[in-house]
Symmetry: C2
Subunit: 366 residues, 2 copies
């Protein structure tokens, strides 16, 4: 393992590759295409591991991220975010480089793009199936028809409906995810039946990691676009999407103070490193990560009753049982399993394999 | 104003410089030294504006940040974080470049540093006055004496006690901050009385922006180290530290969807841009920012009853009154006043003045 002197994001490549393989095999078995979302890892090198399981197309969350991965050899890219018409120049530039798919969620956006696009671009209509974030209400066939009316006879080619069933993130069990998915599938199947009369090749695309991890029958869905599963985390674990052993990243953090009198140690690990996501413990208190030991070339299972229970810009305060504290000294390094892997990866901006290889991520400023 | 096509952090230089001047004048009036904390802006150029009000010494929150500002001409730097002994090489390197002050909060840290420091370094003992984050309990004279015993006859020179009274952040009124400060001051004065017998030149240093903004009599305090006040934000406003008009930064965000049916617009502004801090509204719901219009060369007062009420990685969902929504269209740009300016600045990594100048910030990776 590399020598840790400051907060350092570690990746267990074996776990990560196993997560990728498992999802790829599942997709193959269930005859859906895996079009992985790269917003979690944002890393050219991690992206390469997806090529090894046959991925040819990817999903990203911004024009900037599309450009980064286009520059790293990906040529079929879906930007899973409502098209930002102010970025039309960059969209036109990308459309010349790759097979680009965007989201057109309103007739207004459609009209602007129809006028300003300079080359063919495929598009999904994002549908809102209850999450209430973005997209056309999945039951509003009339709004969808209006978009398709505008895009008719333009550079915009309709390829189907994309859905991020984000409300699965509120589930607390696989059963609950299954129940949500059943409702989602009904809505999407109904859309497919209705619109495939005019668009026989339209596809249904599904985005969320909980559904993609838990569901065993995808019905009418044609492609799955999970992202978080590449690393998994404590949020996904709480939903039942992964085991603790499937979490592929761990933040290594230096111990800077030991307070036996209050059963706490202070580590260099603030929200600038971890992100600020928290989970509520059974004691009703929020916590910001579970704690592991780093041993040899890997990390251990979580230490019982050890949690990051306070977080500021650079400080993390970890609560630990007395008998564990007795064995910890200033200058030790502990590991933190992330509540939200996407956030921790974004905050850190680079990642190190346990073998000591540095994996780059998309630069923040471009 | 620069043309906005993507989330862009704007700075009103006039407001920012006024915040700096006001704090500098206050320090002068109350005979305390202003040693500003640079963790909020992390910008070499913003740092220059402090030189204009006479600041010669600064405070930072990590060895990395100390190095960045040392490279930009600052030569009296306090690292306001418990010394991380694993970074001894970098600390030694910095100590050769600048007048470095660090935190030594335990006899264990003191012993390691005594052995490994290669040149003179001044140090504060950080005292915990009720915040419960880091530092020696301010009443534990015996623990403090033990540290001073170890550092005696070493490269470590004691300069005083530093206190971040972080519990003022839980205050909801200036009166409450004053009450907390009164208790803090009692503890610090008692420390000063006791230890100045042996260290007649010891100083008391105070860190938190709410106290520094609100208190009008600093008593025995010798230096103030506020950081957030350079920009201020909605958290500080909630405490009573600043007016809305004193908030110096605003995140400009493109509108990507308009949903009159649910009184919401979707903007390109997620936690990767804003950070994830929230405040609780009078309606009991959390929100992630107030909304302003961008007009001409500035931003307006907040739009009444308009809030960012959902946030994911790249999406922000803003709730707005119907009559306002009617005037908003896709491709418009709205402004968001930050809940937590430190977080928004860190997430964005660069900042633009209203006149269109780009201000750099410390690179995330060094």
């Amino acid at each position: 393992m590399i020598k840790i002197t400051q907060p350092t994001l570690l990746l267990d490549q074996n776990i990560c590759v196993a997560n990728i393989s498992k999802m790829a095999e599942k997709a193959l078995k269930h005859k859906v295409e895996l079009i992985p979302h790269f917003k979690t890892h944002q890393s050219a090198q991690v992206g390469e591991w997806f090529k090894e399981v046959g991925a040819g197309a990817i999903t990203v969350t911004s024009v900037k991220m599309a450009k980064y991965f286009a520059q790293h050899g990906w040529n079929d890219i879906t930007i899973a975010f409502p098209a930002n018409v102010l970025e039309i120049d960059k969209i036109n530039e990308l459309a010349k480089m790759v097979d680009l798919k965007i989201f057109v969620n309103s007739k207004e956006t459609a009209a602007i793009l129809k006028q300003q696009l300079r080359s063919p671009v495929k598009f999904y209509i994002e549908t809102d199936v209850g999450d209430g974030r973005s997209g056309v209400n999945a039951g509003d066939f009339s709004a969808i028809a209006k978009i398709l009316e505008v895009t008719n006879d333009s550079e915009l080619e309709f390829c189907g409906f994309y859905t991020h069933a984000g409300h699965t993130y509120n589930a607390v069990s696989p059963q609950e995810v299954e129940e949500i998915f059943e409702e989602v599938l009904k809505k999407l199947s109904s859309l497919k039946r209705h619109f495939r009369k005019a668009f026989p090749n339209l596809k249904l695309a599904l985005g969320d990691t909980p559904s993609c991890s838990i569901i065993e029958d995808f019905g009418d869905i044609d492609s799955i676009h999970p992202g978080n599963f590449v690393y998994y985390d404590l949020v996904q674990h709480g939903i039942g999407a992964n085991t603790i052993g499937e979490i592929a990243i761990c933040l290594a953090v230096p111990v800077v103070a030991v307070h036996p009198e209050r059963q706490e140690v202070v580590v260099h690990s603030g929200w600038v490193h971890q992100g600020k996501d928290s989970l509520r413990g059974v004691d009703g208190k929020n916590y910001y990560g579970l704690v592991v030991n780093l041993e040899g070339e890997k990390w251990t299972a979580p230490i019982s009753n050890a949690k990051v229970n306070k977080l500021s810009q650079e400080h993390g305060v970890i609560n630990l049982p007395s008998k564990i504290i007795d064995g910890i000294k200033i200058g030790d390094v502990l590991g933190i399993l992330p509540v939200h892997a996407c956030a921790t990866a974004v905050m850190m901006g680079e990642i190190w394999t346990l073998e000591g290889a540095r994996l780059e991520m998309m630069p923040r400023l471009t």
